[in-house]
Symmetry: C2
Subunit: 141 residues, 2 copies
DNA sequence: TTTTAATTTTGTAATCAGTACAAATTTCTA
DNA sequence: TAGAAATTTGTACTGATTACAAAATTAAAA
């Protein structure tokens, strides 16, 4: 638990109880939860927690590069505390989101030839796949 | 103008006046407009047009692979009628969205090594870059 | 043609994720 | 300890998107 606190500080984030709880939850739940899910899960053990705080905190985490806010789902934002470069796959049938490794582990923009567009300064790269996950492929009649 | 009609039919889309107008607008305006922008632009010359129709039509176009609905901007959906594979860059300062070519023109998933994940059936790939566009780099003090 | 069925469009009302804002609380600093 | 700065909270609001059912248009059948 102090691990989380140290992790936040290493990212330049002041470790308040709320921030620790949120980051702790994200590190334990890598299933790309929604904001709602984070709030619901923490609300019971921390009844005073406000949804605005969750939003504020996530915005802060993003700015400090401690979380990725994914727009892969058209309805809700999804959270991901894994900061190593990787892509995401969303199943169009069950909606689940999967982490997907990228060739030679990273440098996604370079892989795609973005380095040749020297005029643009890329600060982040997001790669979203959509299709059918293994389970839903076999379900499909 | 009949070109658009034929294009829709080639995609398996019945060419109603509204659909023709919307597709025509998207083909003429490649600046990744919002739904609102499409509606506003067409509303004057087609006063009966409803915003619901715009939404319905775009959903249909997407299903028929005649348009890409981009989630790169966190506020609004953006439209793109260019169906050749390419990536998108959004400037974090001015918000503009740019088309970006991809190495050897396409096969984006393969470039990233997604073909090796044989268990997932990828149907579409979206690549979003964020950073500073050339113009905003020089503006930045 | 007429009639009927199917498709498409329209407008209004509702939903719901996300934000604005100011008060309350906590933490830091002098 | 007092006061300033940072953080959290709750409520009200916004605004994009959807639900839905009526109206209009188009296609098909007779």
């Amino acid at each position: 638990m102090e691990k989380v606190q140290e992790y936040l500080m290493s990212k330049g984030i002041r470790p308040s109880p709320q921030r620790i709880a949120i980051m702790d939850y994200l590190l334990d739940n890598c299933n790309h939860p929604t904001v709602e899910a984070v709030y619901d899960a923490l609300h019971t053990s921390m009844p005073t927690l406000s949804k605005t705080t969750v939003y504020n905190t996530l915005k802060l985490f993003e700015k400090k590069q401690a979380v990725q806010i994914l727009n892969i789902d058209e309805r809700n934002v999804r959270l991901d505390a894994t900061m190593e470069p990787h892509a995401h796959f969303q199943c169009m049938r069950c909606g689940k989101i999967f982490d997907v490794p990228v060739k030679n582990g990273g440098k996604m923009a370079e892989l795609l030839g973005m380095n040749e567009m020297t005029d643009f300064e890329v600060q982040q790269t997001q790669i979203y796949y959509k299709g059918l996950c293994p389970h839903c492929q076999s379900e499909k009649e």
